[in-house]
């Protein structure tokens, strides 16, 4: 990873922002494999040279665009969780907002529908481990106020569930369906992450 990837979101450079927006627009239109640095330059209204100066390579540019989107969605998630009254509201809220953002994301939809082989290495096996770690880090702050030190553990489990539901269209619940999602979270997810449950489990174990 080069320093060029650390997009400064507090003081966004207009050229960087245009380049990242242009990258996503091109991918939404033609997909990842067919998007060239020239396409992006044309869309961004700047030169290839400028892009290479800011980002180093096409790969770095795509990575930066993905990273910026991830930060944006994580921010939305933290906002939703911050406004939640209960842990259940926070979990449902986070899953819904992330589900919505990713479900309606034009560039992501194109790649997922047409070029899944470009995406899956980042979401499965070792790529899945990395994704879960990054996602857990990003959304753990959503749950600290409810579960304290267990926040990262809870965050990873929620990210895992979100990923599993997103990757599988045959799941009994959809991230888009608020009511069934809440029922699912209430039945299976909440007891999995609520710290009070630790007491019940140790009681169960000691019953042998």
């Amino acid at each position: 990873m080069t320093a060029a990837l650390a997009v400064d979101t507090l003081h966004p450079d207009p050229v960087e922002t245009r380049a990242l927006d242009a990258t996503l627009a091109c991918i939404a239109r033609h997909g990842l494999s067919k998007t060239t640095i020239d396409d992006i330059a044309r869309e961004a209204g700047c030169s290839r040279a400028t892009l290479y100066r800011y980002f180093g390579s096409r790969q770095d540019l795509v990575a930066a665009a993905v990273h910026a989107e991830a930060l944006r969605v994580a921010d939305l998630a933290r906002g939703v969780a911050g406004a939640a009254a209960t842990l259940e509201d926070a979990v449902v809220g986070v899953l819904r907002v992330v589900g919505r953002e990713l479900g309606e994301h034009a560039a992501l939809r194109f790649v997922a529908d047409v070029e899944p082989e470009q995406l899956l290495p980042y979401l499965t096996f070792a790529g899945g481990d990395r994704f879960l770690q990054d996602a857990a880090e990003a959304i753990a702050p959503c749950f600290t106020r409810f579960v304290g030190d267990d926040a990262t553990r809870a965050a990873e489990w929620i990210a895992r569930i979100g990923l599993a539901l997103w990757l599988s269209p045959t799941a009994p619940v959809s991230l888009a369906d608020a009511e069934t999602l809440r029922g699912y979270v209430h039945a299976f997810v909440l007891p999995a992450i609520e710290p009070s449950h630790v007491l019940k489990v140790s009681n169960q174990l000691s019953k042998g």
């Binding site: 899944p116 082989e117 470009q118 899956l120 290495p121 499965t124 096996f125 070792a126 790529g127 899945g128 481990d129 994704f131 879960l132 770690q133 857990a136 990262t152 553990r153 990873e156 489990w157 895992r160 569930i161 990923l163 599993a164 990757l167 599988s168 045959t170 799941a171 009994p172 699912y184 039945a187 299976f188 997810v189 909440l190 007891p191 999995a192 992450i193 609520e194 449950h197 630790v198 007491l199 019940k200 489990v201 009681n203 169960q204 174990l205 019953k207």
Partner: protein, 199 residues
């Protein structure tokens, strides 16, 4: 019209698997498959009108199912559901890491394999869910299931999470019995098994 015997389909899957192990996914041709399986090209094309793509997809599904059938055999003699799942997780993870063909194809041709596994996973999920549902129903009979739990959806939840953990354990060391016990008791079964008389 006579349909080919079920074991002929098995022969094609086994032959394809052998070819993938030797030549890789992309380089395996229908000719290779016919030769390795001892089934004529004509019969192969008749059985698999979708051609090479269909053969590859179904062979991936076949091996995924075999993996889980081996897993089921491994966890047959266990005293309870928790132990069964604990043993399943650690055995499955180890088997996956030691699965030579899978690891080789993941390293060399992940873009060819991963979409096939994702498509076929719904079959595997059905298999695992079908395996777990009766076990959960038995827990209900034993009074260990939470009152409001829907056995089918619970089995589906556990199946999905097992699949996810086996492929990408994340923070969990599935070789550590204490961690696995914690994971199974809390994340997997926390909302499913009741904690009798602990309220």
């Amino acid at each position: 019209m006579e349909s080919p015997a079920p074991d002929q389909r098995e022969l094609v899957y086994a032959g394809t698997y052998e070819c993938v192990a030797r030549f890789g996914l992309a380089k395996t041709t229908v000719d290779d498959v016919a030769r390795a399986s001892g089934v004529s090209r004509a019969t192969v094309y008749r059985m698999f009108p979708g051609g090479r793509d269909q053969i590859m997809r179904e062979t991936v599904g076949w091996e995924m199912n075999r993996f889980f059938a081996r897993l089921a055999a491994e966890v047959e003699d266990v005293p309870d559901l928790e132990t069964r799942l604990e043993r399943a997780l650690s055995f499955a993870r180890r088997s996956l890491l030691e699965h030579e063909v899978l690891q080789k194809v993941l390293a060399t041709e992940p873009d060819a394999l991963l979409p096939l596994m994702t498509i076929e996973q719904h079959r595997v999920l059905r298999y695992i869910t079908g395996y777990l549902a009766p076990l959960l129903a038995a827990e209900r009979v034993g009074g260990r299931l939470r009152d409001d739990v829907d056995v089918e959806i619970a089995a589906d939840y556990v199946a999905r999470m097992l699949l996810s953990l086996i492929g990408s354990p994340g923070r969990w060391d599935l070789g550590d019995p204490a961690e696995v016990r914690d994971l199974v008791g809390r994340e997997l079964l926390g909302g499913i098994l009741s904690s009798r008389g602990n309220e």
